[in-house]
Amino acid sequence: MHPPETPQLLPGTLFMLILRSLSGGPLHGYAIARRIQDRSANGLQIEDGSLYPALNRMLVKGWLTAEWGISENNRKARFYSLTREGRKQLDIEANEFDKLVRAIRLVMGAA
């Protein structure tokens, strides 16, 4: 359930969040969702269902690769890892995001 006070995800940031979660190493889909939730201290809640179309879109773009493996609870799970392209993309997006946030802060601080 989504608590109403949870802020909406900024458009276009889901790819970046997924890339960042995977920068530590391969994870399966559920773990990606958990990691985003935990890292944001429950401040960001993505709808689990929207994760998979995003992952597939990133596979098409060649930022990720997927492989079947064994999860921590000993089940077959699909693990995603970053490609070189993916890492590059993460750098680009993180940079742009930083710039954006800084700019917004400046505007908000000045007001």
Partner: protein
């Protein structure tokens, strides 16, 4: 990330197929079950935990759908759906589909044919390796037009200078070719030994000259052209090594060039190629083969990789200036040569096909109009159908199809129609191009063009089909989807919105069609009239009974005296044949492909340029040129006796206004010396060399006083069976001497027609297209009327129930139609007159817009319209009011 690797990833995905679906399903199940297990740990029971996990996940179906979509070629799959839908629609209305496909196929086929023809004749690069690095030369001269030939001595210097990757020499020559015993006249080419290798043309049999010839040791070798090999040797694969004779010299066949290669001169297909002699060597029997450094040569070169034309030109011209400075005083020094120029040579030499430029251009415009009319027809039919399909469109729109989606759907249909028509059109084009070239003159040197359909024609036709589909599909699609489609579902179908606008649009289309087909008809009328005006009538007494035989006793083999003897003996023998009225020789003859001129001067006055020819006694009667005054040539005009000439009226008037020219002496330079001739006769004015110009001043010499070079025997027969007559005369040639070729055997009537070839192509084709477009316009008119009658069934029913006679109903329907035809005709006439103003500036010798032509064409337009109108109109007035009113 590039688009391309995305596509590759997508294509890989296609190969993965159904495994993707099961993977995705497993993955989502794993996600939900892991989440459920976590929730269970916080104390919630199994089924509840699973339910909560599902809720948190959201729509599984949506997640699957979106994931799938990430991999798909979205528009491609939409297109597939659209095309499937279109095919289904076509199956449901076969009559519409057939009509549309046929009219489009005719339009596309005709356009594609005339484009391929133009491409083959003028545009297509030569079928050689890297044609874009080939260049042609020309030399600018003082006070004269540039020459395209280069001094042979300079060619050697240029070759040694290594400015170019290579140079090749070509020089065409008429040769006597004998393989069995009879000699035949062929056109061959003398080339440098590196010809085939420089052009990158790989012979299909043997080689392009042997390595010995290559390395400079000349040998009598010949490479046959593909067509010559097929025609003369039946495509014999063991031809290599066979001996032939050219001007009685023995040559060995060493190769056969590939079928696509017609040489560097567009429109020619020389039968064989022989290597030029090394510098300084000559062969008295084949003049063009000589390696004399004083001669002029036609040269083509290949640029070095990375060198631009301007760089090459600068380097080559520097060589040329050096050559001019060092050149010995003589021909090259006195020719006023200035600078060497280089031009791109990818398309070869098209001087020879230049006369076909304008006719082919006119043709392209004509077929373009036919295609437009066909488009108009199909657009009109599509509009009618869109009205009938309003309901379907409204339903599709109400269940969520956007306008863009509907337009795309309709465009997919029209483009599919056009592409099917294009495929059919390709077949029509292939056939039509063949027909087109039947009209070309097969004269002294036949024009030869490679008409095999190639990838260019295929690509062009495909692009044309797509464009056509867009052209006729877009307007109906925009029209049909405009306005409130959902309203149609509620409203009565006959009172639907947009109906008025649509039928107005269709009416405009019909008016345009009528207008353009009238333009085509008038154009056809004008071209036919032009042709009739040009056809010379001044040759009296059945030109179809005058047989022509051109013969070539090679100068290199037959001496002047021997040739004179042959001429006399030939005329004696042929004249004795039964059925022969008269026989005479002429050096060129009327309307042949060769012509000559001389400057004629009354001593003390300005010289006059006149066309000239040499003939034997009896020539004027044989050919049918009326006699005016004086005497014909006769036995007295022998070599050594006083020189005599006959002039035509135009020259007589120009030389001696208002005086008799008979017995007067004129000065005509012969070679380097002036000679004085007495005018002994005057013949009527005829268009002798060029049918397109009014009769020019003309002078005839006696063949006996000037040795014949390549004379044509003219024979007038009183038999209608010219074929057996031709055979009998041909036999006399064989009995006399089989050592020289006899060719170009035809009648004077055929020669006249050949001289009008380009006008004939334009006239016949514009006639065909005019009739075609008339039929298309009639179909369009019929379509809109039949449709309007069926839509107005109820209205007509009410009128008739209220007492309208069937005559008044007929009038109502017919007047609507004839209003459209009248509007179209008026517009067409205006366009025709305006277009003629423009065209007559570029086309000389085009007759004027004659009122008779206009009346005839308008009459044809109205009568065919009457036929098209009569069917729906009679159906309209046969409507039974009771059934009509019960119908709705």
């Amino acid at each position: 990330m590039s688009i391309r690797s995305e596509w590759i990833n997508r294509l890989r995905h296609l190969a993965r197929g159904s495994r993707f679906e099961s993977d995705l399903e497993d993955e989502i199940r794993f996600h939900i079950e892991t989440r459920a297990a976590e929730i269970e740990q916080s104390g919630i029971s199994g089924p509840d935990a699973l339910a909560q996990a599902r809720r948190e996940f959201g729509s599984i179906a949506l997640a699957q759908e979106d994931s799938r979509a990430a991999w798909q070629f979205r528009w491609l799959q939409d297109l597939a759906v659209d095309l499937r839908h279109a095919l289904r629609t076509f199956r449901r209305s076969p009559a519409f589909t057939l009509t549309a496909v046929i009219s489009l196929a005719l339009g596309i086929g005709a356009t594609s044919a005339s484009c391929s023809a133009r491409d083959a004749v003028l545009w297509k690069p030569l079928p050689v390796a890297d044609p874009n690095s080939l260049v042609n030369f020309s030399v600018s001269r003082d006070n004269r037009s540039p020459t395209i030939d280069l001094p042979a001595a300079f060619v050697r210097q240029l070759r040694d200078s290594n400015v170019f990757a290579g140079l090749t020499i070509t020089s065409n020559d008429g040769l006597s070719f004998s393989y069995d015993d009879r000699a035949e006249r062929i056109m061959g080419e003398v080339v440098s030994p590196n010809f085939f290798s420089l052009l990158g043309v790989q012979p299909i049999l043997g080689e392009g000259f042997t390595p010995e010839v290559w390395s400079g040791h000349w040998a009598p070798e010949a490479v046959l052209s593909y067509n010559s090999w097929r025609r003369r040797f039946g495509g014999d694969p063991t031809i290599i090594g066979r001996a032939i004779r050219l001007n009685t010299c023995a040559f060995t066949i060493v190769g056969v060039s590939p079928p696509s290669f017609f040489g560097l001169v567009r429109g020619t297909d020389y039968e064989l190629r022989i290597p030029i002699l090394p510098e300084g060597q000559e062969n008295a029997r084949i003049s063009q083969i000589s390696g004399r450094p004083q001669r002029w040569l036609n040269v083509m070169a290949r640029l070095k990789a990375g060198m631009s034309i301007s760089q090459a030109e600068a380097a080559a011209d520097a060589q040329f200036q050096e050559f001019l400075r060092a050149a010995p005083v003589g021909v090259f020094r006195n020719a006023g040569l200035r600078h060497l120029r280089i031009s791109p040579g990818a398309r070869g030499d098209y001087e020879y096909v230049h006369p076909f430029d304008t006719p082919l251009y006119v043709l392209l415009v004509l077929v373009g109009i036919v295609l437009l009319i066909a488009c108009g027809n199909v657009a009109s039919m599509l509009l009618a159908r869109a009205t009938a399909r309003e309901h379907e469109l409204a339903v599709r729109s109400s269940i969520g199809a956007g306008r863009l989606r509907l337009i795309r759907q309709m465009l997919a249909e029209s483009i599919l129609l056009a592409v099917i028509a294009g495929a059919l059109g390709l077949a029509i084009a292939y056939w039509a191009t063949g027909v087109l070239f039947h009209f070309l003159p097969q004269g002294h040197i036949a024009i030869a063009i490679d008409l095999h359909p190639d990838s260019r024609a295929l690509l062009f036709t495909f692009a044309l089909s797509l464009a056509t589909g867009l052209l006729f599909g877009l307007a109906p699609a925009l029209q049909a989807t405009r306005g409130n489609l959902a309203g149609i579902l509620k409203a009565d179908s006959a009172a639907s919105i947009g109906e008025g606008r649509r039928s107005r649009f269709r009416k405009i289309l019909v008016v345009m069609q009528v207008a353009f087909s009238l333009v085509l008809l008038i154009a056809a009328g004008i071209f036919l009239r032009t042709l009739a005006d040009l056809r010379p009538t001044e040759y009296r007494g059945r030109p179809e009974r005058v047989l022509l035989f051109t013969m070539k006793p090679q100068q290199e083999i037959y001496s002047d005296d021997r040739r004179r003897l042959l001429a006399v003996e030939l005329i004696r023998r042929v004249s004795a044949l039964p059925g022969v009225q008269s026989a005479a020789l002429a050096e060129n003859g009327p309307l042949g492909s060769r012509r000559s001129s001389d400057s004629v001067q009354v001593p003390g006055q300005d010289p006059i340029r006149a066309g000239s020819d040499s003939v034997t006694p009896g020539f004027f009667d044989t050919v049918g040129i009326p006699w005016i005054a004086g005497r014909d040539f006769g036995p007295v005009d022998r070599p050594g006796s006083p020189l005599a000439v006959i002039v035509n009226q135009a020259l007589a008037r120009a030389l001696f206004p208002n005086q008799s020219p008979l017995g007067r002496i004129v000065k005509i330079p012969r070679g380097k010396k002036d000679a004085y001739f007495e005018i002994v006769g005057v013949a009527a004015d005829t268009r002798y060399y060029d049918v397109h110009k009014v009769a020019q001043p003309f002078v005839w010499f006696s063949i006996e006083q000037l040795a014949p070079y390549l004379p044509t025997l003219h024979v007038r027969t009183n038999r209608s069976d010219t074929a057996s007559m031709t055979a009998a005369i041909r036999q006399e040639f064989d009995l006399l001497d089989r050592g020289f070729p006899v060719f170009n055997i035809r009648t004077l009537a055929v020669r006249i027609e050949d001289s009008l070839a380009s006008e004939r192509i334009v006239a016949s084709l514009s006639g065909v297209f005019g009739i075609l477009s008339l039929a298309l316009a009639a179909v369009g008119l019929y379509g809109i009327l039949a449709y309007s009658v069926s839509r107005r069934t109820r209205e007509i029913g009410i009128r008739m129930a209220l007492g309208a006679s069937s005559g008044s109903v007929l009038w109502m329907i017919a007047s609507e139609a004839f209003l459209l035809v009248a509007a179209g005709s008026a517009l067409g006439l205006a366009i025709a007159v305006a277009a003629f103003r423009v065209v007559s500036r570029y086309l000389q010798a085009v007759s004027s817009v004659d009122p008779a032509i206009v009346i005839c064409c308008s009459f044809a337009m109205f009568s065919i319209s009457a036929v098209a109108v009569s069917i729906p109109a009679t159906r309209g007035c046969r409507i039974d009011p009771f059934t009509a009113l019960r119908h709705e």
